[in-house]
């Protein structure tokens, strides 16, 4: 097989895994990975975006590094090395966030940024990312970030509107606030409803395509 054909095959596999982790098998809503930051820290849209950015800052470089060194490591050592590298990268990301972006936001997120380093997202990716092509791992990491980011941003935006009646710090103009929404159980409820919505959409879409196939035959 020519080099070009191999690349094309890898590209389509990668695109497939991107769609899978981002939408159809959403990393949060279907696989239930990375719930902790969403439930505990996703209270304002700013913190949601910051957590997504920190996750991206770790996942993207690691997904490029791991396929190259993963094969030289014994299986039991892979998650350990992965988490150590993640912690190293996180120190840099946290430093950037504190000095250049917003010390306030850093102070508010406090413990939840270090916790990202040992998030289940990475453990999941570390176990997956040894033998795959770098392109595939990169797209899978991108898919995780998009899936995780979409969920945490929507939940934190809704919670910010309900708790403070603001969005990204700007007032929305709803007079009535519900401070209870900041508690963890509402985040669980929202996650449950979003997961149910995703299942519903998936069923609808697959039923639609099944109908099309039946028409062709």
């Amino acid at each position: 097989m020519s080099k070009r054909k191999t690349f094309r095959r890898h590209f389509w596999q990668a695109a497939d895994s991107f769609i899978e982790t981002a939408v159809t098998q959403n990393i949060v809503l279907v696989q239930a990975i990375g719930l902790c930051p969403i439930i505990a820290a996703g209270v304002t849209l700013q913190s949601g975006v910051a957590l997504t950015a920190c996750t991206a800052a770790i996942l993207l470089p690691l997904s490029l590094i791991m396929p190259f060194i993963g094969n030289y490591l014994p299986k039991w050592l892979r998650p350990v090395v992965y988490v150590l590298l993640a912690a190293l990268l996180l120190v840099g990301a946290a430093y950037l966030l504190e000095t250049y972006i917003s010390p306030e936001l850093y102070a508010r997120l406090y413990v939840f940024i270090p916790i990202i380093a040992v998030n289940m997202l990475h453990a999941h990716n570390a176990s997956m990312a040894q033998t795959m092509h770098p392109l595939e791992t990169l797209f899978e990491a991108l898919g995780s970030i998009v899936g995780f980011g979409a969920v945490i941003c929507s939940i934190s935006a809704l919670r910010e509107i309900a708790v403070n009646s603001t969005l990204w710090g700007h007032p929305v103009g709803i007079g009535y606030v519900l401070p209870e929404v900041a508690s963890p159980f509402t985040a669980f409820l929202m996650l449950g409803f979003m997961a149910a919505l995703l299942q519903w959409v998936r069923q609808r879409v697959s039923a639609y395509f099944r109908g099309k196939e039946a028409e062709h035959q």
Binding site: E180, S183, F185, F193, A196
Partner: protein, 337 residues
Amino acid sequence: MKMNNNPAPHIRTEQKSRHMIMDVLIAASVLYVFSVFNYGMRPVYIGLLSILSSVTCEAICCLIRRRSLRTLLDGSAAVTGALIGLVMSPMVAYWVPMVGSAFAVLVVKAPFGGYGRNVFNPAAAGIALLSYCTPQRMFTYPAIGAGMQLPLDMELTAQDASVGTSLAAQIRDGATPTVNRLHLLLGDFVGPIGATATVILLACAAYFIIRRTASAWTILPYLITCVLCAWCTPCTGLDTLHSILAQMCAGYVLFAGVFLLNDPVTAPRFWLGRILYGVFAGALTMLLQQVGRMEAGSCFAILIVNALSPIIDRWSYYGWRNITRLLRIRREVKAHE
């Protein structure tokens, strides 16, 4: 072969689930009548508005799911509303039980597929939500007096009725409960609308057991576990019997055991599973009542055991089957020898 795949409750006798629900409604109405003597007509309005809210939400869910509105006639939504109304404080604002009932039907019951498919008891979940979100309104009780008539305004403040300390709050704070035994039995002490009438609640339990609406395999282990736990942690300054009675009457302990625990949908089906379920719920209730900061500990306990109920059912069923099989094999081997 044709397989019937019907939702719970699975009932083997001639009885229908509608009869069970009617039994619960009858028992709840008795408690509402009792509360009229204590507080006037306000508790009845609270209950009716709560039922109205839950039935309206159920109708909305039926319309969304394009089902016939005749499903409302099974009465399960009305039961949810009536039970939520029974644990409110008599001076609660009218919108509080309505919000609880709406939450119970719209979030806890309908998304799982309606009556017979719900994982958690809707009434317990509604009460848990209210006690988490509006503890100030839920646990402010009026002091009780003979023939008191609470005003029927939308919101009552401390000026409208003198506020009393509830029995559960007294026990939790380590104070000596000031209610004597006769008043504990008659329900003549500060507390929720329907959860204080000890004798009536016990009569309701007996009625449910006789009518086979509820299983004695759940109620009795629950009550026995609660009594044992209360015996182990006596109140200061009371003799043993009085202390046990006071702890059983405090909060929703008895009410939850009689009304919420026996939901035929969420309780296990197998008898051993029911016993374990009752014991576990009782122990958890008394634990939350002792260390929790809310009086609604029993509702949280019931939600936790509801989540575990399928596991309890399966393990107890297969465990019992394996034990009996082992015993039978051993007997056969002995006979063979």
